[in-house]
């Protein structure tokens, strides 16, 4: 490797030097110096880091765009493996009882089936755990959008009283004294466990979670017209039509426009939602429009898990929600028969990954 790089650099220089005169030589030499520097860095890094550090291409479901990934956290096998290990490790919580996976169950589309999340010592949170499937597409995080990146989102459970209730600096200390983690961090990020590398690793793993293998996907992206039943197709027409109006907010391949809206859940909101971040009265009771993919598996529903079933959710929208001055103008009573409501629910269930 060293020899090859060296001769390549010389070759570049020879090529330049034999053709350029005067100031051009300066340019050539700069290239030469740069090539030397880069060669040394690359060789040193590869020697230290070993295999598994090539940036990999994430495999995505058919029809999904490639997500935007920060340049300092491009996916490699070492980073993903490390992030996955941390994700499952209760060392992250104060009493080492709760991990990310405690709420974001791998066997349930990285969500749970509780009304609100439960952290250490059985402490109840105030909001419903979202699925992490397709999380890479979210522009901001939490129901209120308070955090602007997946990496920064990782900080929050450490601080939350009803989640890990710990201190990420103390976690870094524990990880540095762990028999396995320091070497894994070195391999993945070329640095020891710290706030930067912990948050990057977990985010890197989370950006590998995708779901796009539903019956709906077969119908739309694979052109399999037999993938949906007649009832599901009727439900799809309601969803995307004037009868249901669902598509205005739940749009695109991820069935959300990522906006914050008040859907008339309450007249008085115990949780002020987006207004907690913006402190603006016009954002009271607004929450992020959730993706509907795998919705069947992520009951109960709404930001506070107050609706136990999809039937209750559809009933809410059919009735048009409660009065609130911030209620979205799209939330109006719907004229849907019982059969049509069932069709709509059947369609929503066709969004579950197979």
């Amino acid at each position: 490797m060293r020899y090859y790089k060296n001769s390549k650099a010389q070759h570049i220089l020879l090529g330049f030097a034999s053709h350029l005169q005067g100031i051009g030589v300066v340019v050539a030499l700069c290239f030469f110096l740069l090539a030397c520097l880069r060669k040394d860095d690359v060789v040193k890094d590869i020697d230290k880091l070993g295999k598994g550090n090539e940036v990999i291409q994430l495999s995505l479901p058919l029809g999904f765009p490639y997500p935007i990934i920060p340049n300092d956290n491009l996916p490699t096998q070492n980073r993903i493996r490390l992030g996955r290990m941390l994700f499952f490790d209760p060392i992250l919580s104060r009493d080492s009882t709760v991990s990310c996976e405690s709420c974001h169950h791998e066997n349930n589309v990285f969500s749970d089936t509780l009304r609100v999340s439960i952290g250490i010592e059985g402490r109840k949170g105030t909001r419903n755990t979202p699925s992490l499937v397709n999380i890479a597409y979210q522009p901001v995080f939490f129901w209120d959008g308070g955090v602007p990146s997946l990496e920064q989102q990782v900080l929050a459970p450490f601080d939350a009283h009803a989640e890990f209730d710990f201190d990420i600096n103390k976690v870094a200390l524990l990880l540095n004294n762990h028999p396995a983690y320091p070497a894994l961090f070195q391999k993945a990020y070329n640095r020891l466990p710290d706030v930067y590398s912990i948050t990057r690793a977990i985010a890197c793993f989370e950006r590998t979670l995708y779901g796009g293998t539903s019956k709906y996907d077969s119908y739309v992206y694979k052109g399999d017209s037999s993938a949906l039943t007649i009832s599901e197709i009727r439900g799809m027409k309601i969803f995307f039509g004037e009868n249901g109006e669902c598509f205005h907010c739940h749009q695109g391949f991820n069935f959300t426009d990522y906006s914050f809206r008040n859907n008339g859940l309450y007249s008085v909101y115990p949780d002020s939602g987006r207004a907690m971040i913006t402190l603006s009265a016009s954002d009271l009771g607004k929450f992020k429009v959730p993706s509907l993919r795998n919705i069947e598996k992520t009951a109960p529903y709404m930001h506070d898990g107050s609706f136990p079933t999809l039937e209750k959710v559809v009933q809410h929208y059919v009735e048009g929600g409660r009065r609130h001055r911030n209620k979205d103008r799209l939330i109006q009573p719907l004229a849907l028969s019982k059969v049509e409501q069932q069709d709509l629910i059947n369609f929503l269930k066709s969004l579950s990954d197979q």
């Binding site: 030097a17 300066v26 939490f142 955090v147 201190d167 710290d194 402190l279």
Partner: protein
Amino acid sequence: MNNLLKIIVSIISVIAFLSSCNKKDGTPQPEIQTQSVSLNFMQTVGETPVNFTDVFSTSDGRRYTLSMFRFYISKIRLVKEDNTEQTVSGSYFLIAPSSPVCELGKVPYGNYKGLRFSVGIDSVTNHSDPTIYPASNPLAIQTPGMHWSWKSGYIFMMVEGSCDTTASKNEALINGQFNQSLIIHIGLDKFYRNVEISNASISVGDSTKSVNLKADMNRMLGEVDLKTEHSTKSFNNSSFATKVANNIPSMFSIMP
């Protein structure tokens, strides 16, 4: 071989060229004399230095204890006699009883009539990624935390302790604590405050200069009734938070 010769000649000529670039031009520059200046924040309650064991009283006699008193200082500038500003090195400082000093670096000799700084973090830095800083940087995630991870912003001023909210104001301490916990977390861009000390008269000359500043807790609690106002995280109990934030500019004074 011919190519190799060209390379050698090129390298020599370029090195000569580059080294000539490094030379300063010949015009003589007037020598500016500078001196190291630091700010030393004395956290007090009135005239008493803050500690985490004593009982303190507000001006209206409400007793309280402290277990935390930390704040961010930034954008420090000295004001010259001609009202122009002398910016200083160093950008963000986290002041606590254990870290009261801001090293301002070298400052030109002269008399400075005023001192300006901000309490808090400017809005751009306030909402940028806090995980990128090395542990030694005041903007890195602190223990205990000075950053709201659920809404991505720094806590500019953090005060914690306990206070006696009983009618008699004679509550006995239990384990060094009064009946009510005292929590003041001031953050949010709207509570970023500029401080101006106009009568500073700081003279920078031959010897290193340490400017002592008082940060008086009781001035920050001015007009606050701890009986009813003892807990705010800025986004809640915002009238209390506003009162405290508005007291911040006047809590600082220069000490002789």
